[in-house]
């Protein structure tokens, strides 16, 4: 007989709410069901209620950690919709802050992953070094997390000449420490014991369920939008698309760590080649009827924006497909056959990012039946 193990919405592995219903047979997971929507804020509808400029800030608030890639993708989509070409310097500044974001996102991932497997020293070290990136972002935009750098037609903040030596110095420091973490990730007994051959996603399943980002690349799929469908300045910059073949949690970590090193390379190149010129071009916000699709490589994978204009200052429809949404379909095959102790680290290995709701799950101890109860019912029971 199987036993139902509810995990969430108050979560062991994430600071965000989502509900997972595991069916277990002893220690072994035999089935999993995921419930989404605890953080659904109706942003797609909100997009079509605000004008194009306001929506830059809304896009930025879809996700705190990857706010720059959201605003960049949004701005690129609208620029394409309106036929605007942003200045070269703006494209380079976007690349710099997007890659800094990737570095900070991956280091954050490393820290939390280390914490999940009980390796808190590594957690502290990774987050200490993440401060270097946060400081660099503060240098450019004045904000450690939210940069508010992007605008339609270019950028609002400049990378000043006097910032460059400071940034290069910090990048050197980061490169050294990331190299050390990458070595550690491949040799430490605790990490190998907890991550190797755990939560395996085969290449076939990754293709079948349309996995994206580091999850796909760890299953040996060479899929990176920066290379496959280059945008901004990525065509002119040299970097390697990192892949691993194991498909387990360890491989996903290795891919992310090696990607930090590639991102450092990209930032250095972009700082070196940074062209002079204006930061933005003026834009007309009344965009004639048109539609377009744009995608970028966010730290977590392929980010897709679809936009349709209708001749006014407000978009008709904006659709956003975030990378975590794209990776949910492949989560099931990572869990099934694994054990209960693996749940937090496997869950974290896709680097999920969710956004709260009003439901509770009740497990009847006599019959083993699970039912979902809404807030009204809970209030009735309280009386």
């Amino acid at each position: 007989m199987t036993f139902v193990l509810p995990v969430g919405p108050q979560h062991p592995s994430l600071k965000e709410p989502e509900f997972f219903r595991f069916e277990v047979k002893g220690e072994e997971i035999v089935d999993v069901d995921i419930r989404l929507g605890y953080a659904h804020r109706g942003i797609e509808e909100a997009f079509s209620r605000r004008n194009y400029k306001h929506n830059v800030y809304l896009a930025e608030r879809i996700c705190g950690i990857c706010n720059v890639v959201h605003s960049t993708t949004y701005c690129q989509t609208i620029e394409q919709l309106a036929g605007i070409e942003p200045p070269e310097r703006a494209k380079y500044i976007r690349t710099i802050i997007m890659e800094l974001e990737r570095i900070h996102s991956h280091l954050l991932w490393l820290g939390v992953a280390a914490h999940q497997i009980g390796f808190d020293t590594l957690f502290m070290l990774a987050w200490r070094d993440r401060e270097e990136v946060m400081d660099m972002r503060e240098l450019i935009s004045g904000g450690r997390v939210h940069s508010a750098t992007n605008t339609i037609g270019g950028v609002r903040r400049n990378v000043k000449l006097e910032h460059i030596p400071e940034m290069l110095r910090r990048l050197d420091k980061l490169e050294k420490s990331t190299g050390y973490y990458a070595d550690l990730w491949g040799s430490d007994r605790t990490i190998l014991a907890r991550c190797s051959k755990v939560g395996v996603l085969s290449k076939d399943d990754a293709v079948k369920f349309c996995a994206v980002g580091p999850v796909a690349r760890a299953s040996n799929l060479k899929l990176d939008i920066r290379r496959n469908d280059p945008y901004g300045t990525y065509e002119a910059l040299s970097f390697d698309v990192v892949t691993e073949s194991e498909g387990d949690v360890w491989a996903r970590g290795t891919v992310r760590l090696r990607e930090i090193l590639e991102s450092i390379r990209i930032v250095r190149q972009a700082l070196h080649e940074l062209p002079s010129g204006p930061l933005r071009v003026p834009v007309e916000l009344k965009i004639p009827p048109n539609e377009t699709l744009e995608r970028t490589e966010a730290p977590r994978g392929e980010l897709v924006y679809y936009a349709r204009s209708n001749g006014t200052e407000t978009p008709e429809r904006i659709r956003v497909r975030t990378p975590t949404y794209g990776n949910f379909a492949s989560m099931k095959s990572m869990f099934i056959g694994g054990t209960v102790a693996e749940i937090p680290i496997v869950m974290w290995s896709i680097d999920p990012c969710f956004g709260c709701n009003d439901r509770a799950t009740i497990l009847d101890a006599r019959t083993g039946k699970v039912s979902v109860v809404n807030f009204k019912q809970l209030k009735r029971w309280r009386r």
Partner: protein, 143 residues
């Protein structure tokens, strides 16, 4: 496949083709040719569906399937009548579409027939039947 190759592959089933650049195109298809076109894409090695977008235009519910043909992005459009939008599931051919179809069902009220798991995805369980938040005028109606 770039846009040109994609057009070459599917033009016999397409009713309208708009190529925006070599890596992006919008194609309209009729309901009767839809499955043939999907089979054709599958045979040509397309495996990745990026997402499904639903747009309520007022007259129609437009469903747009975004396929990654590496590198071209094919946006496959299909127009459904607004009073009774229904379409066959594509999850048999492209299993990655399962969640996007659930999203489409609850947000726009499109009936996806043959879907293996037609439960709600984002909306709560006590959400009223027949209320589709991305339908045009839904919010005004609620006030």
């Amino acid at each position: 496949m770039d846009s040109k190759n994609v057009v070459e592959l599917i033009k016999e089933y397409a009713s309208n083709v708009r190529t925006t650049d070599e890596r992006s195109l919008f194609v309209t298809v009729d309901l009767k040719n839809f499955e043939k076109m999907l089979q054709k894409l599958k045979e040509a090695g397309v495996t990745h569906i990026s997402t499904i977008t639903g747009v309520d235009t007022g007259d129609f519910v437009e469903v747009i399937y975004h396929f990654d043909c590496r590198p071209a992005m094919l946006s496959l459009k299909i127009f459904l009548p607004r009073d009774d939008p229904k379409i066959q599931t594509i999850s048999g051919i492209f299993p990655g579409a399962v969640l996007y179809e659930r999203d489409l069902m609850e947000m726009l009220g499109v009936r996806v027939e043959g879907h293996p798991d037609p439960r709600r995805l984002f909306l709560p369980d006590d959400w009223p039947e027949g209320e589709y938040p991305l339908r045009k005028g839904w919010r005004e109606k609620k006030r």
